[in-house]
Amino acid sequence: MRITSVEVAALTLSVKVALLSLIIMLPPGLFIGWLLVRRDFIGKTLLNTIVMSPLVLPPVVTGYLLLILLSKQGLIGSILYRTLKLDIVFSPIAVVIAVSIISFPLLVRGIMTGIASVPMELENAARTLGSNPFKVFLTITLPLAYKGILGGVILGFTKSLGEFGATYMVAGNIPGKTQTIALSIFDAVQLGNDIAVFRLVLISTIIAFIAIWVTERYIYHHNDVY
C-alpha cells in the first residue's frame, strides 16, 4: 500500500508546477484583472474573451492549440528552437505553460471580483491625497481586494494541481518528467492498478476539498475585521 517513487515524483511535480505557475501568472493576472475592471479601452471584450476562453474550451483543445504554437514548427516554438535551441514540447516547461493557461481564468476571475469590490470613491480619495494610480493600487486597491484575490489564487492553484487534458496534449505523460498527479491516476486506471488509483484519488480529493473549504470558510464567509 506504500506510495511509489513515481507517484511521489508526480505529486511533487504537480505541486511545484502549480506554485510556479501561480508566481508567474499573479503579476499579469493582477494587471489584466485591474484593466478589465477599472479601465475602458478598445478591445476590452476581446481581451476578456481570450483570457476566459480556457474556462469553456475543452482542455484538450487548449492543449492542442498550445502544441501547434510551441512545437518546433510552431509560431512560438520555432523561434525558441532557433534562438535558444529550446524544445519545450514534452518537457516540464510545457507542463507549467499548459497549467498556467488553464488556471489563468480562475485566477483573473477572483482578482476581478476582489478589485470590483473596492469602492472607486476610496481610490479617488487616495488620488486627491497625492497618490499616483500605482500607489493607489498598492495601498488601497490591493489590500481591500485581498479576499477576492486569495480566492482566485486558491482556485487557480487547485485547478493547476488537477489539470489533465492540456498537459497530456502538450507535455505528454512521461513518468518522472512530465507526469503530474492527474496523469498518474490515468496511468494507474489504464493498468488496472486499483489500489494506486484509490490512493491517488484520495490525495487529490483531500487537496481539492481543503482548498474549497478554506476559500469558503475564511475568505467568503469570514466577518470583516475592519
Partner: protein, 379 residues
C-alpha cells in the same frame, strides 16, 4: 499662500446627459455653493479636484493652470494638491485613524502651515487615532476626514456636503470646528451644501446652483434670506431663518431659551448671555403640525400659530404659519393636510425638537462640549 488666491472656474462638462456650465472667479476665503441634489455640485468639485475632466474651458488656481483645454493641460488629482472632504468621508477601512490622517501627509516637506498635532487637537480626535473607521460614529468619521485632507496642507479645500449625513445636533457641534480651521489655517474653502444654515454659518460668499448653472451669487445673509432665495429654498428644502433674543440660559439643564414674541423656543445650551440675539434656522420638514398643545412627546417646543397660506408644491404641501408675527414654512404631505383638515386660519401648534434648531453663528463659538485635554496620544 500666494497673494493671488483667485480660483478661476470657467468650463463646461456634459455628464450622463446632464450639462454643467460655470464661469466665475472665487476670491473669498470660504465660498458656499448651494443647490439641490442634481444641481451639479459634486460635478463641480470633481472637475476642480481632477477626478472628472471638463469637456472644455479652464480651471486656474493661484496662477497655476490645473486644467486648460486650450493649452491641453489636465493635471491628475495627485498633482493638484487640493484637499477634498467627501460627503461620506471615504476613510480607508483597512488603515487606522492615525494612518488615514498620515496617508496624504508626508508629501510636502517645506513650509508647514498645518502641524498635524494641531489639526488633531482642533478636531478633538486624539482618542480615536488607534481605532479603525468602522469603530467611529458618523460625526467622528467626518472630523477625521477633515483632518486627513488638511494634513496634506492644501491651499484649497473642497468640501462636498461634509455634514449632510449628520443630524442637526451634530452639525451644530462640527460647524465650530470648521470655523477654527477657517481662522487658523491659510486655506481657501469651497463648501458645497444644500442646507442654507450651513452656507450662512460658514461662507463669505454664496453661489446658488440650479440645473448645472449659477443662478445667483452674493453675500450669504442677504442672498439666502431675501425673497429671491425662495425658489432655491423650495428645491433644497425650505429653511426658516430668524434672529431671536436669548431669554434664559440654563447650563445645568443644557438648554437655552429664545424669545419668540410671547412664546419660548428651547434650543440646546450655548454659551451666550441673556439679551444676545441669535440667528437660527429650522428646516420646514423638521416641524410637526399638531392641533393640540402639550402633547405627551419628547419634543421641547410647541409654538402656537395660525395658518396663513397653503401651497401645493410637487408632492408636498407647504404651510405658511404665522407665529407671533414670524412666518414659518412647514412642509407636510397632502394626506397629513387632509387628515388634520387644515385650512386657512386654522390654529395649529408647531412641534419642534430642540436639536432641530440650527445655529447660524458666524463666529467660532465654543459649545463647551469638551475642554482641551492634557492627554498626549502617541503620534
Amino acid at each position: 499662500m500666494s497673494n493671488n488666491t483667485n480660483l478661476t472656474l470657467q468650463f463646461i462638462k456634459q455628464y450622463n446627459g446632464f450639462s454643467f456650465e460655470i464661469d466665475c472667479i472665487l476670491k473669498e476665503k470660504v465660498t458656499a455653493f448651494l443647490g439641490a441634489s442634481g444641481s451639479g455640485k459634486t460635478t463641480l468639485l470633481n472637475c476642480i479636484s481632477g477626478i472628472l475632466s471638463p469637456d472644455q474651458g479652464e480651471i486656474v488656481y493661484q496662477d497655476r493652470k490645473l486644467y486648460s483645454s486650450k493649452h491641453k493641460i489636465n493635471l491628475p488629482p495627485e498633482k493638484r494638491r487640493i484637499g477634498y472632504v467627501f460627503q461620506e468621508g471615504h476613510l480607508f477601512p483597512h488603515i487606522n485613524i492615525a494612518g488615514n490622517i498620515r496617508y496624504g501627509q508626508s508629501r510636502r516637506k517645506q513650509k508647514q502651515y498645518a502641524d498635524v498635532r494641531e489639526i488633531i487637537d482642533i478636531l478633538e480626535i486624539e482618542d480615536l487615532l488607534k481605532r479603525y473607521p468602522k469603530q467611529l460614529s458618523g460625526g467622528q468619521r467626518q472630523r477625521v476626514a477633515i483632518a486627513r485632507s488638511i494634513a496634506m496642507e492644501p491651499s484649497l479645500l473642497l468640501m462636498d456636503e461634509p455634514l449632510a449625513s449628520l443630524d442637526s445636533g451634530l452639525k451644530n457641534r462640527i460647524i465650530p470646528y470648521l470655523h477654527h480651521i477657517k481662522e487658523r489655517f491659510e486655506i481657501q474653502i469651497l463648501y458645497v451644501t444644500h442646507t442654507i444654515s450651513e452656507a450662512m454659518a460658514l461662507a463669505d460668499e454664496a453661489y446658488i446652483l440650479s440645473d448645472g448653472k449659477i443662478t445667483a451669487h452674493g453675500d450669504p445673509h442677504q442672498l439666502l434670506t431675501s425673497p429671491s432665495a425662495m425658489p432655491i429654498a423650495n428645491m433644497t428644502g425650505v429653511e426658516n431663518v430668524f434672529t431671536l433674543p436669548v431669554s434664559k440660559v440654563d447650563k445645568e439643564k443644557g438648554i437655552t431659551e429664545l424669545e419668540i414674541g410671547k412664546q419660548t423656543l428651547i434650543i440646546p445650551y450655548i454659551d451666550r448671555n441673556t439679551g444676545d440675539s441669535i440667528p437660527i434656522g429650522i428646516r420646514a420638514e423638521d416641524i410637526i403640525i399638531s392641533l393640540e398643545p402639550n402633547l405627551p412627546i419628547s419634543a421641547r417646543n410647541s409654538l402656537k400659530g395660525c395658518i396663513d397660506k397653503i401651497e401645493k408644491i410637487g408632492d408636498k404641501t407647504i404651510l405658511s404659519i404665522i407665529v407671533e408675527g414670524f412666518h414659518l414654512s412647514v412642509k407636510i404631505t397632502h394626506s397629513a393636510k387632509e387628515q388634520l383638515n387644515l385650512s386657512q386660519n386654522t390654529d395649529v401648534y408647531c412641534v419642534i425638537k430642540a436639536n432641530a434648531v440650527n445655529l447660524l453663528l458666524q463666529d467660532s463659538l465654543d459649545l463647551s462640549v469638551s475642554a482641551p485635554t492634557d492627554h498626549q496620544p502617541d503620534p
